[in-house]
């Protein structure tokens, strides 16, 4: 899948270097052992400019995690909701099994808003997943397909994958497909990818 080229400005290059340094350090030591000064040193930038832009190391690592996780599971467009959800669920499951994927998932969990916060939109990483689900459901509606409510996709497709990733239970392709099929009801001969 082709990536959009990075804008070539100095700020964009610095950001790319900072993100790369942060991602490397997280992969090497785990996010709890990564300090702002470590990232600055590895990226060859001043720590003060990192503090100015991101405030603290948690905010920076959360942004890195969101970018990594989104890149790991881009939005499919297969022509049917069932197939879209199957491919999407499979990609998310695979990215959480991948050696580089899990540490970023943990950063996202560690930085979720407090449970009594009441504002789902503040969970940045989940926010991007909500947008992806809404896009798939909108396309299904435009095609005239029946579609489950958005929260059902969160509760019965995303939640089981995250839960299994968190506790180290198996999350294979068959499991991901089964979650999509449960949401879409019995198959009626549409293409299954």
């Amino acid at each position: 899948m082709p990536r959009t080229p990075r804008p070539g400005g100095r700020t964009a290059r610095t950001k790319a270097a900072v993100f790369e340094a942060a991602a490397e350090l997280v992969a090497e030591r785990g996010h709890e052992a990564v300090a702002m000064t470590d990232i600055a040193k590895r990226a060859r930038v001043a720590a003060t400019s990192l503090y100015r832009r991101w405030g603290d190391v948690r905010a920076l690592l959360l942004e890195v995690a969101v970018e990594k996780l989104a890149a790991d599971s881009p939005l499919p467009d297969t022509g049917s909701l069932r197939s879209d959800l199957r491919v999407w669920a499979r990609r998310i499951a695979a990215s959480l099994r991948a050696p580089g994927g899990s540490p970023f998932f943990r950063i996202m969990l560690a930085n979720a808003p407090p449970p009594d916060d009441g504002d789902m939109g503040r969970a940045t990483a989940l926010g991007s997943r909500l947008q992806q689900i809404a896009a798939m459901l909108d396309r299904a509606a435009a095609r005239g397909e029946a579609a489950p409510p958005l929260m059902d996709v969160i509760d019965h497709l995303l939640a089981p994958i995250y839960m299994r990733a968190l506790f180290g239970a198996p999350i294979g392709a068959a499991f991901a497909h089964d979650l999509a099929d449960r949401l879409c009801g019995p198959a009626k001969g549409d293409s299954q990818i």
Copy 2:
């Protein structure tokens, strides 16, 4: 619901004091700001004996969290699986909404085994939930009721509640009941608590 009386030995009393001190400190500051020496001071015991028994503060706090979370949602025995699951789901949802409940949930998440661990049993807190689910399913089987697979209860009842707790989405009684009803299929006039 009656509690089993605490065994009266000195070790048991010390453990109770340590757990109470740890739970207070977690509620006051959040688990990331609680050190072994803080707990020792509050419980009026030697820090060295805490290190000897629990190894580190994370291990101690995980044990406290598991005990707190289990006490918040004891196992119901209503006579039907649907009602058992409804009550159990509702209690877990309520305990995660409670002001004292969420910090312990976060300790449990923060101390889950790495996703590539592959051994679900190592997640102590989830382990006690697995036992509760197995007990409800066993009783259902003994009564001759149809029952979903254990992993379905994890994936489609526990995971959605945990996910919503984590991201601050609403987890009311109606939501908990709906999860139980989905697992048990359409109601056939059995008692719904």
